[in-house]
Amino acid sequence: MFLVQYSNMNTTPLNIDKIRKDFPVLHQEVNGYPLVYMDNAASAQKPQLVIDTISHYYSYEHSNIHRGVHHLSAEATVKYEAARKTIQEHINASFDHEVIFTKGTTDGINLIANGFRGILSSGDEVIISGLEHHSNIVPWQMLCEYTGATLRVIPINDIGEIILEEYESLVSERTKLVALNHVSNTLGTINPVKELIELAHKKGAPVLLDGAQALPHMKVDVQDLDCEFYAFSGHKLYGPTGIGVLYGKEEWLNKLPPYQGGGDMIKSVSFEKTTYNELPFKFEAGTPHIAGALGLKAALDYCNQPEIGFESIGQYEGELLDYAMKQFESEGLSGDMEFYGTSKNKASVISFLLKGVHPYDTGTILDKLGIAVRTGHHCTEPIMDRYEIPGTVRASFSFYNTFEEVDRLIEGLKRVKKMFG
């Protein structure tokens, strides 16, 4: 049994055996080997509680929300709004109407990019960083193309960190928005977002954070960060796919126009004039992903139970990361590996290449050994260009991964090395 004792005793030791039992998908064989799932940064697995919540909702509770006077509709509405409340509390938003349900991080970013069409004009600037996922690049390129504004990119250093001095020189009165990831999906770098936000605010620029890779590993407090917008996805947070959250400060969300028109987002409609509904419904046109919202609430409830908690999750994942890096060294693999993203402050993501072996080849053999990793550019082609590589192999750990699984990865890599050496 894995009961991990941490040096920092503020956190509860996780009972990994028990946790693993809550994730049914982990208990299967792939290519004749017990599955080792290390593609968590792409999408995390779901605890039984999430699966049961969704199944129960569709079995006994489903109805359309917000409009019906009948029992099921009222119940579903209460549950949907309770999910919003849970998320508000989890990220410490000031109001529950600052929590907008979206399809995911990408959807949330696009909502804001679309809303800024009326705000930006030629001469204005949007700042992003060299660490961004395509979903935090392309919407801004489209926005700039539409408005004539200019996109500025903060360069990163060799270990995969935003260069602060460069950022300081880029941000100015022309900056109308700064959009950065909280944690890099490819390199794992945890950005010093508080500092970055403060600098933007000094010049009067609002900040959007892409938190897709942060929420699964840490507790995020949007009021403490003081960001204007924060977007994240349910499926990376042990919840369902197709649901996500966009947090926005009330004053900013009120300032922006609706993203999509339709049912639920209106107060009244006539052919002459339509008035929009208030927050958060203004941004939730059409029947939302009700089951998804309930599933996301279940995922947060699961992680926030006293014997788990995000502090313990982050701590344990950090131990896995340290163990992996130590084992690469002591098993004599480090010399044959090139690591990308070695910031001291990083999430449990290891991006690497076995020297002389294409990531596709490494990934294929690891898959044959039942080990799921991601290979390729991870939707961050500019990072690949920065390092002049075609892609990397990325192993990303979650709190249900074990030290034994890290050993399996290492054995797998030794085998790859032997086959291609």
């Binding site: 294409h358 596709y360 080849d361 990934g363 294929t364 044959k368 290979t375 075609p390 086959m419 291609f420």
Partner: protein
């Protein structure tokens, strides 16, 4: 040799391997044996887009037959590319158009031809068939 005879020959070669490990080691060997293309020939024009591994393929047409040369930056892909070329190259456009590539399945490599694999192989085969179609129309 006909296309199917070439496929059967490959199936036969792979039948001596019992486990996936030996099979992949053989593919890696095949990949290493493929002569590949010289760097200057690996141009955008001949690049077959795959998301993960890149494939380059250059067609040539002479005496009624289509000839292909190909390469990839990943060895496993290169090995399979080499097999596809071995089966399809130096046949008439009509023969290529009619070809059913069953060897991939029989060898147990179907997963590499899944469209989600994004290794350039599916696009390469499509491209070969397109060339065959173009040249069959010219004949």
């Amino acid at each position: 040799m006909t296309i199917n005879e070439r496929q059967d020959e490959l199936v036969e070669e792979f039948s001596m391997f019992d486990d996936w490990m030996e099979k992949y080691e053989y593919i890696i060997d095949l990949g290493k044996e493929v002569e590949g293309l010289e760097e200057p020939k690996k141009t955008e024009e001949f690049l077959v887009k795959g998301c993960q591994s890149r494939v380059w393929m250059i067609p040539a047409f002479s005496q009624g037959k289509l000839h292909f040369e190909a390469d990839s930056d990943a060895i496993i892909t290169k090995g399979i590319v080499g097999m596809v070329v071995r089966v399809l190259s130096d046949n008439t456009p009509a023969e290529i158009l009619d070809a059913d590539l069953y060897f991939v399945d029989k060898i147990g490599l179907r997963e590499h031809l899944s469209p989600t694999r994004s290794n350039g192989l599916v696009s390469m085969i499509k491209k070969i068939k397109t060339y065959a179609l173009i040249y069959s129309a010219k004949e």
